[in-house]
């Protein structure tokens, strides 16, 4: 029943996305620069949460480093279990987020695929993605003995109230002052506009790339988006993101024009919810592909362009508070369900696949309700997969295989 092809299949070769190689080069160059001693680059290093406002760091010539991106790399390299176990030996609970466990453990032994992240000069923590990051970054601030800035973004269950607005906007000013103090130089507000414009262009291009899957057959799937995502996360606000995504978008458009889909025979279109299962992306992608099921969209990768509507192009810094507070993960279950239904309609999917992620509580908490709301309002079949993004001990292959197979049998 194996779906792997031994010999090079010319059709499979044709379906490969060529831009993959360039992306690997960019990410390698990024990590080489980040790992080059500060004395040589003259640049400070900030560790920042994946949903944090990175653009002011770019303005200050600080290199942003993302423990969560590294967590994904650790997961994809199947190094997660060792590092999670190491964190558990240090006394951290197994219920704690596996990104946090992997990062906390990796910092002490320079673990993971690139031998650890460069030491930070400061930590920037925005809790718009979860509450765990606050304690996690406090642990790292003590360990590295560096300043920590916490941007507290209250959850906007249904609306962005004037109290939230005032509260977060005040903190953005404090954030700028914090950077000026740590970097020892004044903030360049003109440059902020330029970086902001690049960030907006990058996000728009990312949305356009994700939207190429509106075409049937989809030229890529969410498993490809999981890979291409790294740039908009790590280098948002830089010219190279814009250049690369323009190239990627052109390739996707060319694939559409040539009728090349990621799946040779796209029969079902599905929507993925929650983080990828990094150590099993290949297995899952082949598993769904073997059933002619294309995961054409996901709530995760679209998270890095979902608050574009709140960004003010003419006053980027002024709109930073709102655009970083009103992200998908920082809204209530009703809003998440609404957004998922919008996506289901937009991408014309036949079903919804939800990864109930042991690590990511804010992402997984409302999923049973979301499942029910989607079924009530759209009658779409849903599949729940219980797993974890990095900790492979929470993945049962035969169980999940049965669920996927049965789900597809149900769609038939």
């Amino acid at each position: 029943m194996s779906s792997t092809v031994q010999e090079k299949d010319p059709f499979k070769e044709k379906r490969k996305i060529k831009a993959v190689q360039k992306m690997k080069e960019i990410m390698t160059a990024y990590y080489i620069e980040a790992k080059t001693p500060t004395q040589q680059t003259g640049k400070k290093i900030a560790w920042i949460t994946s949903g944090g406002p990175v653009e002011p760091l770019i303005v200050m010539d600080v290199i942003p480093v993302y423990p969560e991106n590294y967590g994904a790399m650790i997961g994809a390299s199947k190094m997660g279990v060792d590092l999670c176990e190491k964190a558990e030996e240090m006394g951290y609970a197994r219920d704690l987020c596996s990104y946090a466990r992997a990062d906390i453990a990796s910092a002490t032994i320079n673990g993971g695929p690139i031998g650890g992240l460069p030491k930070p000069d400061m930590l920037i923590c925005c809790n718009n993605i979860c509450g765990t990051v606050m304690k996690w970054y406090e642990v790292q601030a003590r360990y590295f003995n560096v300043p920590l800035f916490i941007l507290d973004t209250p959850i906007c269950h249904r609306e962005y109230s004037k109290e939230i607005k005032a509260y977060v906007e005040q903190q953005i000013l404090e954030y700028i002052r914090f950077l000026e103090t740590v970097c020892g130089k004044p903030f360049d507000y003109d440059r902020m506009q330029e970086v902001g414009a690049l960030s907006i262009r990058g996000q728009r291009l990312w949305q356009d790339i994700l939207d190429t899957t509106l075409h049937k057959p989809a030229p890529m799937t969410c498993f490809d988006a999981f890979f291409f995502l790294a740039l908009i996360v790590t280098l948002r606000g830089k010219q190279e993101v814009v250049d690369y995504y323009e190239m990627l978008l052109a390739e996707m458009k060319a694939r559409i024009a040539a009728g090349i889909g990621m799946l040779p025979n796209e029969k079902y279109r599905l929507l993925w919810d929650n983080l990828p299962i990094w150590y099993k992306t290949r297995w899952l992608s082949e598993k769904f592909a073997a059933h002619d099921a294309s995961l054409v969209a996901d709530t995760y990768t679209s998270g890095w362009c979902s608050s574009l509507q709140y960004v003010d192009e003419n006053n980027f810094l002024g709109s930073l508070a709102e655009s970083y507070t009103r992200i998908f993960l920082n809204t209530g279950t009703d809003e998440m369900a609404k957004r998922i239904i919008e996506m289901a309609d937009k991408y014309q999917v036949n079903g919804l696949v939800l990864h109930s992620n042991r690590s990511c509580k804010p992402y997984s908490l409302g999923q049973y309700d979301i499942q029910r709301i989607v079924q009530e309002q759209r009658g779409l079949p849903t599949l729940m997969i219980e797993a974890d993004m990095v900790d492979e001990r929470n993945f049962s292959e035969s169980q999940i295989e049965t669920r996927i197979d049965a789900f597809i049998e149900m769609l038939k």
């Binding site: 029943m1 219980e386 049962s396 049998e409 149900m410």
Partner: protein, 255 residues
Amino acid sequence: MISAGVDIGSISAKAAIIQDQNILGTHVILTGYNARNAGEQVFNELLMRLSIGPEGIQRIVATGYGRNSVTFAHKAVTEITCHAAGAHYLQPETKSIIDIGGQDSKAIVIDSQGKVKDFAMNDKCAAGTGRFLEVMARALEVDLDAFGHLSLTADNAAVISSLCTVFAESEVISLISKGEKRANIIAGIHESIAARVIAMGNRIGLQAPVMMTGGVAKNIGVVKALEKKLKTGIMVSENAQVNGAIGAALIAATL
């Protein structure tokens, strides 16, 4: 048309052979170490008993955890779809199925044609499954076959709150040391299984009439506990354990 279904579960392997919608025979053996051998053995033994040569079977569908290791099958179909087909065949009015097997429990909602509308499965954990009952039977030194009837003599079911097999076993051991009656402990175990599987069923809108399938359906104590909690009767066919294999054979006939 004669067709066969082979259901390789974690504890037992089942086979069923049908001809024109009639069950010719069914067979159950222990799966043991080698799922592939178990598939061949259970199938061949049934053929022998029915005096049919392998060439007499036109279509075979394999199901269960070992479905992909049955090399002589024409197709592999999940036990969820097969249990739905089997239950619909045995009792066409069935709307929901509770299937408790060796290593997992499932709730399945089906439509009037026996097609799966939705399903839920237990998490990767043995609690509330056949294996869970085996562990408890060993801790209580009671033969598993006697479990069901013994629990019906309980006067006050004990409370087992742990959802984990290992922790539930420690709970049972502490109840034993406190002098709790065996029957009450067993009734408590059955109620904890029922609570767990019903919670799963309610998530997907379980509705009556409900049929119970899988090996654990042979345990009258679990059936009664489910009925008590659901406040409705549950249909249990004498073919409950081989229902998946029957469903597989029915699907095979349509290939």
